[in-house]
Amino acid sequence: MRLMGRDLVALLLFAGFAAVPLLANLLQDPFLLVIATRMLAFAIAAMGLDLVLGYGALVSFGHAAYLGIGAYAVTILMRLGVYDIGLHLLAGIAAAVVFAVGTGAVSLRTRGVYFIMITLAFSQMAYFFFVSFSALGGDDGASLPQRSTLFGHDLLENDLWLFWLALGLLIGLFLVCRAIVGSRFGRVLCGARENPQRMQAIGFVPFGYQLTAYVISGAITSIAGVLLANQAEFVSPALMNWHRSGELIVMVVLGGIGTLSGAIAGAVLALLLEETLAGFTQYWKLWFGLFLVGIVLFAPGGVQGLVARIKLQIGSRR
């Protein structure tokens, strides 16, 4: 297995996360765990999005739908008396797969801006579906009676265990995504991003590969939805609002698209900025927007781009 700079970034991030419980203990600040768990969930979602956005050049503006699908899987199963997190994850993934196959098959017939718009439209349909679903709380959403259980135990009621579960899932999914992008399948996906005409001319029809990637991506993002529902013990359609889809894209761009670990860094950075800026001013979104413009103008490639440039500098000085 070849280790790359991006793996180093991922390792540092994972190590940083692993230190959070200790830090929370030292600072006597349990809220740190809450933020870190949210970061982990969004990191999973952003990484899932990066699979299609970065490796497939398919700009999905509707990935928040999968957050919602995962979260509502938890709500609905709990209403049916099913509390096990394994089943919640399975149901969320299954629903995400069904939604992704249907909407992806249609969306992938379009390109560019049309793809962006149609994925947005589908996610808004999902959003309004749950807004009008009054039994599940409609627009206001609804609290969960409890967190999911793990092998029949209510371990996850403890923020620390939920945090470790989220970190475990992130690391596991990172390894899965990393394998996928380097596989035969990943090569075809990237090839279709580079030059679809050339791909056809060597005998590939990109559609099936792109749809498969879209489905995997949606499934991964739905896992983040299951975690977010548990973290907040509350599920509302706001989770699948188009703002959220935009935020997921921002995270990927912030960290550097097509790098996986960049998406993780981007999620961390975005939530950090949100927390700190929101503490200073209610107009934090304005500052966040300016920061983003700065990144795009002065640090294209996001966090990963910066790391690569720093490595180059160090390398050339030697």
């Binding site: 297995m1 070849r2 394998a179 996928i180 380097g182 596989s183 035969r184 399948f185 990943g186 090569r187 075809v188 990237c190 090839g191 580079e194 030059n195 005409q197 050339r198 056809q200 001319a201 060597i202 005998g203 590939f204 029809v205 590969y209 498969t212």
Partner: protein
């Protein structure tokens, strides 16, 4: 000689402009057939229809006796047809080796494999390296394709086409934009290839055409106005009038 690929009564129009005008043409086994003609004659449009990139308005494309008019470009690749483009078409962000390995992959086993790293697959890399050696590009295997010179990119595109293991090659102006040494290398390569492949070559470089071709077809306004050996074409008064002009060839 047996016919491996034939265009039969192909027609293609864009609005009032007829770009392929009831065109019929046969490519024989292991020959190099050059199609020459002025810019805008419809040569690229012909290759697009033969390769499946473009559907003709009428007519058929027949591969070894089988009507393949309804087959997509990707399907035709699996039947043994490969092409290059007038405007170089490679995967710019991939390494040279990856470009060719992916073409090998298209013909060997399923690509719905999600976990094993493709970069480490000897079967793909060894075959790819062999094709790169064939076009004298093995020394550049690890470079990014986008960083290659234009001429080397043309060589790479040929290696990609060869990696799909074709018996028919459709080459659209492979020498366009290449310099002296690069062009000479490509001509030598085509000379080698024509022993084992049936090649339809579109080319403006008359010296290369007359050196390489077994037969030449002359195309003007979407029609083939003459077909013959290089000597016959050189002597054909209609060709001289319509295309070669005063140029001495």
């Amino acid at each position: 000689m047996s016919v491996v690929l034939s265009a039969q009564g192909l027609r293609k129009s864009y609005g009032a402009l007829t770009v392929t005008d009831n065109l019929s043409l046969d490519l024989h086994q292991d020959e190099l057939l050059a199609v020459i003609g002025p810019n805008g004659a419809g040569k690229t449009t012909l290759i697009n229809q033969l390769s499946g990139q473009l559907r003709p308005d009428a007519g058929r494309v027949v591969l070894a006796g089988r009507d393949i008019s309804d087959q997509s470009m990707a399907q035709r690749v699996h039947l043994g047809m490969a092409r290059t483009f007038q405007i170089t078409s490679i995967l710019p962000g991939f390494s040279v080796l990856e470009n060719v390995a992916l073409a090998v992959q298209a013909r060997s086993g399923s690509s719905f494999r999600f976990f094993r790293a493709a970069a480490g697959q000897r079967r793909l890399n060894d075959a790819a390296m062999a094709h790169l050696a064939e076009v004298d590009l093995d020394a550049d295997a690890q470079r990014r394709a986008a960083d290659l010179s234009h001429g080397k990119q043309r060589q790479l595109e040929l290696a990609i086409a060869l990696a799909t293991d074709p018996h028919i090659l459709l080459l659209d102006e492979p020498l366009a934009g290449t310099g002296g040494a690069e062009a000479a290398r490509l001509v030598a390569l085509m000379q080698r290839l024509k022993a084992r492949h049936s090649i339809l070559l579109i080319e403006h470089d008359m010296r290369a055409v007359f050196a390489l071709a077994n037969r030449i077809a002359v195309m003007v306004y979407g029609q083939i106005i003459a077909t013959g050996t290089p000597d016959e074409i050189r002597a054909n008064p209609r060709v001289r009038a319509a295309y070669l002009g005063q140029e001495s060839v």
